[in-house]
Amino acid sequence: MNRVRHFSVGSLLSAAVIAAVLPAPALAQTTLRVVMHSDLKIVDPIWTTAYISRNHGYMIYDTLFATDAKGEIRPQMLDKYDVSADKLTYTLTLREGLAWHDGTPVTAEDCAASIKRWGAKDSMGQKLMSFVKEIAVVDPRTFRIVLKEQTGLVLSALGKPSSNVPFMMPKRVAETDPSTQISDFTGSGPFIFKKDEWKPGDKAVYVKNPQYKPRSEAPSGLAGGKVVKLDRVEWRAIADHQTAINALLAGEIDYIESPPHDLLPVLRQDANVKLVDYNPLGFQYTFRFNTLHKPFDNAKIRQAVLYAFNQKDFLEAVIGDAKYYKICKSLFPCGSPLESTKGMDGLLDSNFDKAKALLKEAGYDGTPVVLMQSTDIAVLTNLAPVAKSLMEKAGFKVDMQSMDWQTLVSRRAKKDPPAQGGWNAFLTGWVAADMLNPVMTGFLNAGCDKAMFGWPCDAEMEKRRDQFARETDPKKQKAIAEAAQVRLTQYPTHIHLGQWYQPIAARKSVEGIVTAPVPVFWNVDKKGR
């Protein structure tokens, strides 16, 4: 009897201990636990161009137009749009039943205010707004964009897939000064941001928007029906790649947006994990010149670098696996409508003899190139040593200076000469969707002080970019884009170093990941809820 009692008491105690130690049973709702490429710190996707803020924007906001899987612009929040015969008036009509997260209807006034705020911040938006005479509200669901002169930018700018995306916000939010961050996160998108659960450095939480009315079409790129199949999405901030991988293998998280390429073999070996190639355009590496200072104030010397480099060395050094990179000499991404190799013959082939001849012709005096190397971002670290090696083979003197990315970001904004804390060159990566045409490609801006860091100054290039903005015929646009590419070979503002692809790593229970240039969570489902 005593033995039985002891057994019972022991069992009860054991059960109590096990119950206390084991995690609580999962809730009935479907929660997707995700590790994004970085922690969400800034939640205003118009105020910053940071990709994580853009991704946040796609969760909670919607767009008037969106880019589909073929790169074409499709209506998203719009029921229809009409273009006048003179192509100066665009009449846009919202779909019926669109509502903000607080239940109030989405109106044309909201959209007009949103376009104005975005147009004040985004470089392509600013270009578009330079053509806009007025944005007039016709009725609660209809508004007109009236242009001063024709431009082909209206649809491509309003449907641009990457930063800054023209997300629609309620008028009261959109009227916030563009230089001030918003504090009201009401959107009309497929998910609702749980501000009360947002803990920077820990997690950001989104729940399904029950009022969201998806389009009837199937999802295609960032366009089509945004059907939400998850109840809750948690973006967990796990800064350490290895920890994130371990957590995925252990089933503690479901999805990693950017697993490092050197750890992909570990993931491939696990039967419960899959790699999903979600972004067909991928990313583009670029080498950026500072045109203000010697030696890169001389276009011929910059051309010498264009001859000295080859894309394969860079891509092998960083990505390694040929499955995840593509040699692409086109200035605009391979696979995009403006892909072309015009003017690129003989370039990016490591023709050191030609590079040396150009240096001699340009009178290169041995001024060292201050090359900034970022050491804390895995997909960038190995680029600078390759650049240094290739440039030295061509006859350059290179002073490679290593620093963390944030120091590089701060230093690249300085116009001072390299000897006084400035710089000559650095390497970075872009989402290819940010480089789809001459206006969108930030590094092509050659507007001197108005250009991005590096400050190239070239009236010819600016003329081509303006021509592209004014042109409405896609065929003629392509010809202009090719002319811009040819001009780039004569006046290099940057060098494109090839495309690479970043798969998502997910548990096999995760399905429906959309193929798009941005990781989005509509259509995604998780089995075994």
């Binding site: 130690v21 609580a24 930063s163 230089s179 001030t180 920077p200 120091t407 860091f453």
Partner: protein, 298 residues
Amino acid sequence: MGVVAVVVFLLLRLTAGDPAAIIAGDNATTQQVEEIRGRLGLDRPIAQQFVIWLGNVLRGDFGESFFFKKQVADLILDRLEPTLALSIFTLVLAVTAAVPLGALAAYRRATWIDRAVMGLSVLGFSVPVFVIGYALIYLFAIHFAWLPVQGYQRLRDGIGGFLTHLILPSVTLAVIYVALIARITRASMLEVLNADHVRTARAKGLAELPVLLRHVLRNAAVPIVTVIGLGVALLIGGVVVTESVYSIPGLGRLTVDAVLARDYPTVQAVILLFSVVYVLINLVVDLTYTFLDPRIRY
């Protein structure tokens, strides 16, 4: 504290990196960066920035984080529990393991036990925290799947999850601390073991355990407690790494994130807080001497 405040403030301003450029993002223009710099007050002279910051700190206002747009005090309060829990667990674990191990090594001096304890303590002191962390994760979280890989569960969400999430990080962090305390315990006890009063106690026929506890360990306690106090600095450094490896949203990770983002108000506040904690703990250690050794008076 004043010196710490000045040094931290100046070091941050002298460090390369511009929070405005970081906040603005990759596609931002120079003008946008300048706008942000103005809004953050970073375009003012450094002396003026310091006076404004110091005045606010003296009023208990640590300012708003550049990045998180939250009050720094709120950010710190939110991160306090994980770090406090991790530190207390580690400290308890380390002292509980290290003092008996050190005592045993001293008592069995020059035997294989002594050599094993000292060998392990050298190893524990030499292997970096992150290596220990990854090894433990591989073994106990991936291979055996007994414990979670990462994360933290707040106490209010259940004691079970709270404990299981703390075991691996605490053990990881405790290793270096155990090594340090065990070595000091051994050395201190060896000095006392040969003292006259110990010989007298044994001669009077006292059993070995009471001799060790009452007459040896107590008299050897002052250096041990001193090392525990000094080791808090080690603990703070270890917390930063351990919280990163185990993805624990505590003050250590807040510090790393804030430093990488050049979030001046947050870095300044966290370092001031760590300094205060360090000073207070060492004050407590000093006061403890009077209980351990009646000859010490202040």
